[in-house]
Structures are given as C-alpha cells and as structure tokens.
C-alpha cells in the first residue's frame, strides 16, 4: 500500500512537468480555474473530515458499549470532537467563498 502511494505521488509530480513550458504571463488564475480549485479543495476537505469523524464515532460507540456507566461523559466528548473536526471542513468552505 505504501509503495503504491509513493508511486502515485511520484507520477503526479512527473506528469506536472509540462507546466514548466508555459509562457511568462500564464500564472494568473481565471475564474474557471479558481472555481475548479475550490471544488477540489472542498471535496478533499469533506472526505478527510468524514474519515476523521468516522473514527471518532466508532471509538465513541465502542467505548459506550464497553462502559455503559460512562455514557454521558463519552457523549459530551463525542459531540465536542465531532464539532471540532467539522469546523476544519468549514474553514475550507469559507476559503472557497473567499476565493471566488
């Protein structure tokens, strides 16, 4: 799995090589490019946030099953953790609105 990831990253860097052949003034982002970047960024942020929240919920559910007496405290920790992870995806959403 790790070798596949390394191969993926190296091939992405290599395929970006032709970008160096652009002319001088080609760095200004157009509206379409800005929006495309915003969409991709939001997708990545939401995906990773989903993974994080899934792990948090899974361990909270398992802890509640193992120790039913501590359910109230675990519930507080779960809600706090979920909201803090959610806010990271929301920062990306705000940047999306700023970039347009």
């Amino acid at each position: 799995m790790k070798n596949k990831l390394v191969l993926l990253v190296i091939s992405m860097l290599a395929l970006a090589g032709p970008m160096l052949a652009q002319g001088a003034g080609a760095g200004n982002p157009t509206d379409a490019n800005r929006r495309a970047a915003a969409y991709i960024a939001m997708g990545i942020a939401s995906g990773l946030c989903g993974l994080g929240q899934g792990r948090a919920t899974a361990s909270a559910a398992e802890a509640m099953a193992r120790n039913p007496g501590a359910v109230a405290a675990i519930r507080v920790a779960l809600i706090l953790g979920l909201v803090l992870i959610e806010s990271l995806a929301l920062y990306t959403l705000v940047i999306t609105f700023i970039a347009q």
Binding site: V76, S87, L90
Partner: protein, 242 residues
C-alpha cells in the same frame, strides 16, 4: 435587495437616532436612508423576545404548582448547570449566568430564521464575531479575577527556559479560539441557509422540509457547542495547579 418587514418599520421610525449614533462613532452607514440592517433588527427582536419570556415567567414561579414554562426553564437551567459543574469544575457555577445567556441567545437567534419574515442574525459574519470576542474577553477576565496576574504564567510553558518559544505559540493558539468560534457558527448557519435555498430552487415542495429540520437540529447543536467551548475555555483559564 428585499428587506424584512421589521427592518422597514425600524428604518421608517428610528432612522434618525441610528444615523446619529453611527456618525458619532465614525462609521457612517452606506445607505443613510436605511441605517438599520436586517441582522441588527433581528438581534434586537430576539433580545426583546427573551426578555419578555423571562418577564412573563418571573411572577408565575411557584414551588408547589409549577406551570409549563417553569418546567421548561427548570430543564434548561439543570442542563446548563450540570454541564458547567462537570466541565468548569467545582466553582464553575459562578459563571453560570453568562453561559445560560449565551446558550439561550444563540439558540433563539439560530431558530428565529425558521420563522418566515425573520432571518437568523448568526448568518452574517459580524454577529458570531461579536459573540466570540465577548467570550474571549470573558474567559480572560474570569482567569485574571480567579488567579490575579499569575494568570500569565500558564502561557509560559512548563519550564522557564522554554518561555521564549511557548509564548508566541500560546498567543497564536489563544487568538485562534475566537476565530474558530466565529467561523464555526457562521459557516454552519450560512451553509444551512444556502443548502435550503438550493433545494427550494431544485425541488419545490416536500424535500426542503428535511432541510428545515436539519437547520433546526444544527441550530441546537451549534448553540450547545458554543456554550460548551466557552465552558472549556473558562475551565482552562480558571484551573488551579494542584
């Protein structure tokens, strides 16, 4: 851009004093004919509504024969009290009025957007910013009141020879707290409204009701989280090293 009917009433009746106040503070309104903004008016409506509910409750408080409003108030009070005791610690109850007011105010502001003819003031950036700055000032005030000027020692780290490194890191992380409080509340409410508008445009009738339900739930959750984080920050500021 259409305005709410309440904003029109305020602009018609109270435009003069509003303009005088804004000019005195050095920030003249962009449109002198309408100095009142939607969110300012809705905030005032929410505050008046909460004051009226509490004023109606006060004479009806009774030990042996509680009415429905008293039950609701007792449930809310027990909820905030239990959270404060658990999170802030044994003397967290002295800060209870601030936490209760914060929770009820944010909850009412989030929910008033569901009533047609009003909109959630928390959907505009300035309102969560004001709440976050007020909370920031409050927890530092609570820490200084509790610990005196030894409060600064918490930011200096565990060893004196690390304090040159710890102080900038602590300052930045303290400043990140109001930022995250603002962005979390604003983005949740704003995104909720945008999603609702999108679905009203796409499927006109039944499906948007689900998003109204979502907005309701998210409003409760965000108000609870704001209060919870305020308690965590006050607890961190007030904690004594034992």
């Amino acid at each position: 851009m259409e305005h709410l009917w309440i904003t029109d009433i305020f602009n018609r009746v109270l435009a003069g004093p509003a303009n005088a106040l804004l000019n005195a503070l050095g920030t003249p309104s962009k449109d002198p004919a309408r100095p009142w903004t939607d969110w300012m008016v809705c905030e005032i409506v929410v505050a008046l509504l909460l004051i009226i509910i509490c004023a109606t409750l006060r004479p009806r408080l009774s030990l042996h024969n509680p009415g429905k409003l008293q039950h609701l108030a007792e449930i809310t009070y027990d909820f905030v009290h239990a959270s404060a005791e658990e999170i802030v610690g044994p003397n967290g109850v002295r800060y209870l009025p601030y936490f209760g007011a914060l929770f009820l105010f944010i909850l009412a502001m989030n929910l008033i957007g569901l009533i047609p003819g009003f909109e959630s003031p928390t959907m505009h950036t300035m309102v969560p910013l004001g709440l976050a700055v007020a909370t920031f000032v409050f927890y530092h005030y609570a820490g200084i009141r509790q610990q005196g000027f030894a409060y600064i020692k918490q930011f200096l780290g565990p060893f004196w020879w690390l304090s040159w490194l710890m102080l900038p890191i602590e300052v930045i992380s303290q400043l990140a707290r109001p930022l995250s409080l603002t962005v979390r509340l604003f983005a949740n409410m704003f995104a909720g409204e945008q999603v609702y508008l999108t679905f009203v445009a796409l499927t006109k009738i039944i499906i948007p009701v689900i998003f109204i339900g979502l907005h309701f739930f998210v409003g409760f959750l965000q108000a609870y989280i704001f209060m919870l984080l305020a308690m965590v920050y006050v607890g961190g500021a007030v904690a004594k090293e034992e």
